[in-house]
């Protein structure tokens, strides 16, 4: 659930980023943050499904540390914030 909520948060950010840029002349560069947010949301949702499958196994595997997934999502969020800050705020 936590992964799913995070993917929804990314999707909501993507929607917010799309609102103003749909009718502007910024072109692809203006939509870049929204596309990045949508991509991150999809990846996070796929991670959510994968974690759900892992945790449904009986017995639970001995090693369930999601190290790679954590770094993927953490770096994706950092990149999204940086790109959005440059494209939208500066």
């Amino acid at each position: 659930m936590a992964w799913t909520r995070t993917s929804f948060a990314l999707l909501a950010n993507g929607a917010l980023l799309t609102i103003k840029n749909l009718h502007s002349a910024a072109g692809l560069w203006g939509l870049m943050p929204a596309l990045l947010a949508a991509t991150a949301a999809c990846c996070t949702y796929m991670i959510a499904l994968q974690r759900q499958r892992t945790l449904e196994q009986r017995p639970i595997p001995a090693q369930i540390n999601p190290r790679r997934q954590v770094y993927v999502v953490g770096i994706a969020v950092l990149v999204l914030i940086a790109v959005t800050a440059v494209a939208q705020l500066l």
Binding site: A2, W3, R5, T6, A9, L10, A12, N13, L16, L17, I19, K20, L55, I60, A62, Q63, I64, N65, P66, R67, V70, Y71, V73, G74, I75, V77, L78, L80, I81, A82, T84, A85, Q88, L89, L90
Partner: protein
């Protein structure tokens, strides 16, 4: 000597503690906390974008953008600290060390209070000046 030690035979008091797989509940709790920090940073990012894109100009020209930049900076710091905290907590659990103490929640709260006070001041100024 522990069965799962990683130190070579004969070496006592190794610099690096042996690593063990923590209880899966602690791993999941650490994971949930990390995701909560990421959602907080995304909320701050959404606030920054909404402030710049949707809120009309405030009493002081450029104040919107400045507040938006501050919120985005807070978002980056929150996300980065969430990732760092996850890594440190995971390492501490695996080595049987005390969990790291992080002042991040206090910094985040202070940052948000500051932004709130500034935003409130700007709104009041706009109302007063008309």
């Amino acid at each position: 000597m522990a069965d799962n030690t990683t130190t070579p035979a004969g070496e006592q008091g190794a610099d690096r503690p042996a690593e063990i797989e923590p209880d899966y509940r602690f791993t999941l709790a650490n994971e949930r906390t990390f995701l909560a920090w990421q959602r907080t940073s995304l909320g701050l990012l959404a606030a920054a974008v909404a402030l710049v894109q949707l809120v009309p100009e405030l009493a002081v020209p450029g104040a919107r953008r400045a507040l938006g930049v501050v919120l985005a900076t807070l978002a980056i710091l929150t996300s980065g600290m969430g990732l760092l905290r996850w890594q440190q907590a995971d390492r501490a659990m695996r080595r049987g060390l005390p969990l790291p103490r992080h002042p991040t929640p206090a910094y985040l709260a202070l940052g948000l209070i500051l932004i709130g006070v500034i935003a409130l001041g700007l709104v009041i100024a706009k109302v007063v000046m008309g």
